[in-house]
Amino acid sequence: MEYLIISLLSALAFYIVIRPFTNSSEEETIKDLNKNLSNLRSSIYQEMELLRLDFELGLIEADQYELQIQQCRIQLASTLIAEKNT
């Protein structure tokens, strides 16, 4: 019984390990790329929101706030362009 279980487990492990070599992954790569860009966009929005809150709480000065928000906007624009192109 023990040998049967270990044989089945070994076969399962072998199947799972070789599976990526038998599947085409191009579609998944594009999906991953889109997900990457979408996550990046979300994190930039989040960063902008935090900056705004810090500015309102007086944790960050006006010139710094403007500078960092501007950087976020530039990043956001390039992310949106990249997303459109994929």
Partner: protein, 655 residues
Amino acid sequence: MGNLGFMTLMLAGVLAFYSIISSIAGGKFQSAALTRSATNASYITSLILSISTICLIYAFVTHDFSLSYVANNSSLSLDPKLTWVALYAGNAGSLLFLAWVFSVLSSIAIWKCPNLAKPGLPYTTATLMFILLFYIVVMSTMANPFEKLAITPADGRGMNPLLTHPGMFFHPPMLMTGLIGVGIPFSFAIGQLLSGEQGNEWLIAARYWGLIIWCILTIGLMLGSWWAYTILGWGGYWAWDPVENAGLLPWLPLTAFIHSIIVQQRRNMFKSWNIALIIFAWGFAMYGMFMNRGGPVPSVHSFGQSTMGWIFLIFLGFNLIVALTLFYNKHKKLKDASQIDSFLSREASFLVNNLLFLLIAFVTLWGVLYPLISDVFKGVVVTVGQPYYDTLTGPIFLSLVVLMGIGPLLPWKNLNNKIIMKRFIAPLIISIVTLIICIILEINNIAALISFSTCTFVLTGILREWATGTIVRSKRNNEIFPIAFIKLLLSNKPRYGGYIAHFGVVILAFSVTGSSFFSLQQDFSLSIGQQAKLGEYNIQYISNETITNSDSVETKAIIDLYKNGSFVSKLEPGYVFYPGFNMASARAGIISTPIEDFYLIASEFRDDQAMFRIHINPLVFWMWVSGPIFILGTVIALLPTKTKYSNDIDDQKKL
């Protein structure tokens, strides 16, 4: 089941080895198929190790004493509830537990790896699997939990009696998970270095795992303190025992890391420093493993019979050499985008915080190593005890609490000191008022006065931040205060979760101050019927009792406790002797209140006489309260932040 357990262990080893080779090749040749295959191998490794662990649990449940580990760590009379504790009660089982936990955590870390950290993922996977493979190899060659005995005994030896405490269900697994878990943020750091990425790609994963592991380690350390307090019978909760210190050592750089990583996220600074911190944390975690498994210092925590410390020492050395060489070769590429503009800025306070944590770590390390160095090089046996640690680390811990109050009040990149004055006024006034009240209450101890006023300074700072934020939100969004407060907490979970954790630290500091500076202790020898008095408490020795169990002999005194003449409770302090282990374990009588703990230990029973030690430990209750607050703060800090903008109109509005 023993055969299946060992064979699954071997299969897990083969898969982990394959995963290392395949992920390195996948990373090197940019092959998605190889990388996915390695990832799959790591997932299946955790499944296989889970089966291996189930085999050992099954052997305990079915009392399979043909396995040496089961025979040495359980018996027919063992309470079935303790099967879980028996799993990691010995050296080999705890190694299997470590490997299993690490494989599961690694699988989750790989599966939930943020997309940004994916370029380094093949190397991260290789590092994770390398650590796992080490444990599997050690088990299969030196400490096999499935090793069979030549002759199967009719009954087992039983479990170490010190482990039959409720705290043991969680303290060892939490501490072991915490120690091995440091390997996960470490692997992300190594993945980052090996992949040649120069940015902050690994940060999200490292922060997330750093916080989880920090929380687990904190719970493990606190449960350990609770266990020591209730079962070791010496009236304290932290003894600076060498192995206790080994649990604290990785916690210190890890705490520094979860703070300084905020600076990298926010200001793109401390890139090299953060990687160095996590290497330190992993080094200390492995040092803890080494101490636990046959290190040079005996301890209540170590596996006494284990002599495999040297293999852990070699592994520690190898990891540090590889990690530090990689760090040295790559750190020049990790250039910071900005620098500290003012020493009264938040980033500067984070740097000082980090240095203080590291200072405590090195002071503690020196306390552990000095007796060994002295013994080896001078031939003089030296003991480094509590006074050394209290004298050196006490002021540094207090400085950290002060900094914890100051840091959050400082703005990022501060160039305007007027803001600072405005933020500091309220906390300063309240702390001075506290100082005056303490003096009026005749608290004369300088350290306690500083500590109490510092605690109120930090507390006021936190409350001020919450109040200001709530008012700003309430005005901006026309929200009522409770709603504005909850939304404020949820608006920046890492920050406000952190403040809650800081609130827990204040309570912990309050408790440590009370119990360190105002505790009372006295020994009494009493005959039956006699009374003793300490502070407001009176005890009367009523009788004693001896109960013989199948594996132990329990001796206890029956005591009536009075406070200011009024009856409080009946206590039954005593000890349990386990002949099979030639070991006794104390059972303290404890009455815990928010003001103070009454703690009574009984020993040396002779006819109608016994020795009693009374401790009155103020504010210890709050130490156990601080634990759940730490957890709450960490859970809030870890909650995911959803900022989804689903259509282009929203995007354009934002722009």
